[in-house]
């Protein structure tokens, strides 16, 4: 069984890109459409090994999601990767404070994504 990575993004295409890329790299992917969806799914699914989240999302944004996931005992130390854009410096800082492990700036290539995920999931 590969490690389980949850990708949280309100953009289907980004979710799909992340899923395909990491799926091909051998990870098991769970998708969530926004922060709330992610929490619901984390709530009833088994433990997630890593979270990849967009920051700007409806219902519950990335920062709140990170805070919430971090506050859960079993996800206290999992890697959380933020997908950011260059214009989101402030958000990125908030994300770090909330407990994000790292970030990858859009646009990124499939290789870069796999590389970062490998690094964080050691």
């Amino acid at each position: 069984m590969g490690k389980v990575i949850m990708t949280v993004d309100d953009s289907t295409s980004v979710r799909q890109m992340v899923s395909f890329t990491l799926g091909d790299a051998g990870y098991e992917i769970v998708q969530a459409a926004d922060g709330k969806d992610a929490l619901d799914k984390i709530g009833d699914s088994t433990t997630v090994d890593m979270l990849i989240t967009d920051l700007n999302m409806p219902n519950l944004d990335g920062i709140e999601l990170i805070k919430n996931v971090r506050s859960q005992q079993r996800h206290k130390f999992i890697p959380i990767l933020m997908l950011t854009t260059e214009s989101q410096e402030a958000k990125k800082q908030q994300g770090k404070t909330a407990g994000a492990s790292g970030w990858i700036v859009k646009p990124f290539s499939a290789e870069q994504l796999v590389d970062v995920v490998r690094r964080l999931l050691k």
Partner: protein
């Protein structure tokens, strides 16, 4: 185009629709931060994803737009009608760029110029847009490769104090050090602050300081890159110790000892230690390789499917329904209880499967309604009218194809309402109406139909003008006293327009006749209700789905035909030829009403001998009744429509075929062409009657 790009384009179009929606909504609520957030998010996602999937033109255009709305979000720029108009134009621009992207083309000069124009205007409104940098190009190639040739390795000392919360950020300092091991040889000592016993939340904090020796040919940037996610919050010092010759790990021991001894050994003393080597000791390096996770599995919560696949599914279900009918028949013939039971179970399952497959094709009509907000807004601005669009029943579901084909007729009807229906604010005021006109677009279920109606509180149809026009076009005699409904139906005739002047909006080109034809092609009906001076309302009665219809199965000679049941009112026996009225004209008296009819065997030129008794199926189309004479009426039946293919697509009077339970083929009769034959009969009657009274 790869699968990701396709998904992106599909998604971007949805986002643009949402963007449009939000923009139109914000016009009435400029302070609504929720809407601003929605607008921003749509732009942000389009920008991010388009860059991600290599559509840089779209990304850089959207980026500027996003910059403007970021300021709106921060309350630095307010939402004005100008901004909305411009943003809507931008939305169209992005749409156009997407369309080109699908074809793999670059924008031509006109489009590029249009984009520049929009941005220039946007810059006029929000100067900060000018400063917005272009978004980064498609991801540049990633970090330098390990083991660059031709560089001799350098020994570094890395002093690293991670942020306290490093564990709570899902990171481990030891992982970072291990990563350093991937770009060179590494050895470290850790100084852990254990002076106080930590408990509670303190436990999760990191107080350690690391001193690392690294021998690598990689540039310093590659080292920093390892710490990229924590560098800003850490103490990170990288010093070059030695580069004269490779300083192998075997010689490191004194350095390690020194580092272990003190938390802050000066670089100079380390360098001294290198230059005056002492006894060294070989150390095993603990080299663990990160194994790639195995197993390939993806879970998806919802999926998008190309509509062709859906059509295929529905088609297959249609075939299945046919086969199942045969099974049921066979079971009845063989009267084997086991087989009958199986047949019944299969029937239940298939009917469930059919409903299910059909429901996949059903989409809420709200998506279509949304595009009209834009239409109403733009047109009313252009015409100097104040109009609000009220929509109801957006959740009403209709077959996807019906919805797709409903768009143009609806556009036409709404344009008509805006142009001819709703008066200018001043006129409205003079007539004692509110300055703002209302167009109501609603959808509701009604049996197996969905009624979509467009009503306005405008001036309504001018019955007298219609009458004059009808007389002028020789549609009615000057003395005729047609009912209001009959006059209203005139507007559906080709070339009939009461518009006094041709505006850019309506009054030329396609008319209501085209609207009616498209609705009828969908198996629907169109009705007008008028309240002169107060408004009018047009109702479209549409079938829920196109794939299956309720039909009346009839027999003519040896062939089977299906008439769409939706139009059929009753069936009567055709009187024997001797009592038929008219000179060759085919008319039948149904309880005092003269109804023109067409014999299918005449229309389809069937030469078989006439049966003893014929029946007439009476259908009502556009409030007029027509008859269709057949040999035998077999009963009503749900039929799955099959296309006859390209060869027969132009055959008039037949809209498709269906396969019956026993495998025989029945043709589905398309009523309008037959009706026009019947119409001629009626005209002939009218002429005859007129002559009689002259």
């Amino acid at each position: 185009m790869d699968r990701n790009q396709e998904t992106f384009i599909e998604e971007a179009k949805e986002l643009l629709t949402d963007l449009e929606d939000a923009l139109l909504a914000i016009e009435n609520a400029p302070q609504d931060m929720e809407l601003v957030g929605r607008i921003f998010r749509a732009m942000h996602t389009i920008k991010g994803s388009s860059a991600l999937f290599g559509f840089e033109t779209i990304a850089s255009f959207t980026h500027k737009l996003e910059t403007a709305f970021d300021l709106v979000r921060e309350g630095k720029v307010s939402v004005t009608p100008e901004l909305i108009t411009l943003t809507l134009a931008s939305r169209d621009q992005i749409y156009a760029l997407l369309e080109l992207a699908i074809k793999g083309e670059d924008p031509d000069q006109t489009l590029a110029a249009k984009g520049d124009e929009i941005l220039r205007k946007l810059q006029g409104l929000v100067p900060a847009v000018a400063d917005a940098n272009c978004v980064p190009k498609k991801a540049a190639e990633s970090k330098p490769q390990i083991g660059t040739a031709g560089q001799s390795p350098i020994l570094y000392r890395i002093h690293f104090k991670p942020p306290d919360n490093i564990y709570l950020r899902g990171l481990d300092p030891l992982n970072l050090i291990q990563e350093l091991g991937e770009i060179g040889d590494e050895e470290y000592v850790v100084h852990d602050d254990e002076s106080s016993v930590r408990s509670g939340e303190e436990k999760d904090l990191c107080r350690a300081v690391y001193d690392i020796l690294l021998l690598t040919a990689q540039p310093v940037d590659a080292i920093r890159d390892v710490f990229i996610f924590v560098e800003e919050d850490s103490v990170l010092q990288i010093d070059r110790l030695y580069d004269a010759a490779p300083f192998e790990k075997e010689k490191w021991q004194p350095l390690i000892e020194a580092l272990r001894h003190s938390i802050d050994v000066p670089v100079s003393s380390l360098i001294t230690l290198i230059k005056e080597p002492q006894q060294s000791q070989t150390q095993e390096k603990n080299n663990s390789t990160g194994s790639a996770p195995s197993g390939r599995h993806q879970t998806t919560q919802s999926i998008k499917v190309p509509s062709e696949r859906l059509d295929k599914l529905v088609n297959l279900v249609g075939e299945l329904v046919t086969v199942q009918a045969r099974l049921t028949m066979a079971a009845a013939t063989l009267s084997d209880p086991t087989l009958t039971q199986i047949a019944e179970e299969v029937e239940t399952l298939i009917s469930e499967l059919r409903d299910n497959a059909m429901s996949i094709r059903m989409v809420p009509i709200g998506t279509t309604f949304a595009r009209f907000r834009r239409l109403v807004r733009d047109l009313s601005l252009e015409l100097g009218k104040e109009i609000q669009l009220v929509t109801e029943g957006e959740d009403t579901e209709l077959d996807k194809t019906v919805i797709e084909r409903l768009g143009d007729p609806l556009v036409h009807l709404i344009r008509n309402s805006i142009d001819h229906g709703i008066e200018t604010p001043d006129k409205r005021e003079a007539a004692g109406k509110p300055r703002m006109g209302t167009i109501r677009l609603s959808a509701a279920h009604s049996g197996t139909n969905v009624n979509v109606s467009i009503s306005d509180d405008g001036i309504g149809f001018d019955i007298e003008a219609i009458r004059l026009k009808a007389v002028m076009q020789d549609l009615i005699g000057p003395d005729a006293r047609p009912t209001e409904q009959e006059l209203l139906n005139c507007v559906f005739l080709p070339g009939f327009s009461t518009a006094k002047e041709v505006t850019s909006v309506s009054g030329r080109g396609v008319g209501m006749d085209v609207v009616r034809r498209s609705i009828e092609e969908l198996g629907g009906k169109i009705e007008i209700a008028n309240n002169q001076g107060r408004g009018s309302s047009i109702t479209l009665k549409l079938p829920l789905t196109l794939a299956i219809i309720e039909g009346l199965l009839v027999k003519v000679s040896a062939d089977l035909f299906v008439l769409p049941l939706s139009a059929i009112k009753e069936c009567v026996e055709l009187p024997p030829p001797s009592t038929r009225r008219g000179s060759g004209g085919q008319l039948i008296n149904v309880r005092g009403e003269i109804v023109p009819y067409v014999r299918l065997r005449d229309y389809f030129r069937m030469t078989a001998e006439d049966p003893a008794i014929e029946y007439v199926v009476i259908a009502e189309v556009e409030s007029k009744r027509y008859g269709f004479a057949v040999d035998e009426i077999l009963g009503d039946q749900q039929v799955v429509i099959k296309s006859l293919g390209r060869t027969y697509k132009d055959v008039k009077g037949i809209s498709g075929a269906t396969i019956l339970g026993d495998g025989t083929v029945a043709l589905i009769v398309d009523l309008p062409p037959l009706i026009s034959v019947a119409e001629r009969e009626r005209d002939q009657l009218v002429k005859m009657e007129t002559q009689k009274y002259k």
